[in-house]
Amino acid sequence: MTVIAVDRDPIARTLTIVAEFDKPAKRVWQVWADPRQLERWWGPPTYPATVVDHDLSDGGRVTYYMTGPDGEKLHAWWRIISVDPPRSLAFEEGNADDSGPNDDPPTTSIKVRLVETPEKTTMTITCKFAPTPDGEVPGAGTEKGMRLAVGQIDAILTTTTWP
């Protein structure tokens, strides 16, 4: 796996990542289409994912939960917007609780595109984050009082990924 490009677009609230895999598109597609394979990479090692429902069809639902180190379960869902194996997948992701999806709007729209060349498959992932209302943040405390050196701030502000 080689990451070819990462683009952060703060205006569009979009993160785009392009990666190359030395497998045919049909094989790469399986990491999305096979729930057992999806489980092996979706969650971070400390939050492994368990896929419950997995209906990768237009309008279909995928539901899953991730289990934290203390046993806490974080439920979430996808709503499939469009699917065209093994070329493209578009879905919205939202949070849920253990009784099912809540009424909150989706948090992220994700588009996946696979392009096969003779030797490899390029996967482009575009994540668009929903606009967010103001709100207090669980976990924000860890960043309170955080201070960056001037040089680090400078690196942030001069980075080419800001348009």
Partner: protein, 118 residues
């Protein structure tokens, strides 16, 4: 998604990203790190009117990226380092999340699965 949940509850991301999307405003943030420049002092650094610079500062202030403090007759502009760091942390966090996922996809693909001999 853990990160998505935190991000969506946490951020005035829209305001912050819009504010950071302008070159002049990013420059103001840099120069206002020390908190010793006034709006009119900043205005002298750019080929634009004081009013235009004032508007940029207002956008930054609304996003929580700077705050104004009174010093005698002057209004000094001070960068809010926490907010700058958080805005960057948000995108960086998602980037790290996805880089981790892609890495694990690479691992999954490196192992044969049932019905796959590629």
């Amino acid at each position: 998604m853990v990160v998505g949940r935190a991000a969506n509850e946490e951020w005035r991301a829209d305001l912050i990203f819009r504010a950071l999307a302008d070159r002049t405003r990013r420059d103001v943030i840099r120069r206002a790190m020390s908190g010793t420049l006034s709006v009119s002092g900043l205005a002298r650094l750019y080929p634009m009117s004081t009013t235009a610079v004032q508007k940029h500062v207002a956008v930054l202030e609304e996003a929580g990226l700077v705050h104004l403090r009174r010093h005698g007759r002057q209004q000094l502009v001070q960068t809010e380092i926490d907010t700058v760091a958080k805005a960057q942390a948000l995108l960086a966090e998602f980037e790290q999340l996805w880089l981790g996922r892609l890495d694990r996809i690479g691992d999954v693909l490196a192992q044969p699965v049932d019905g796959d001999r590629s």
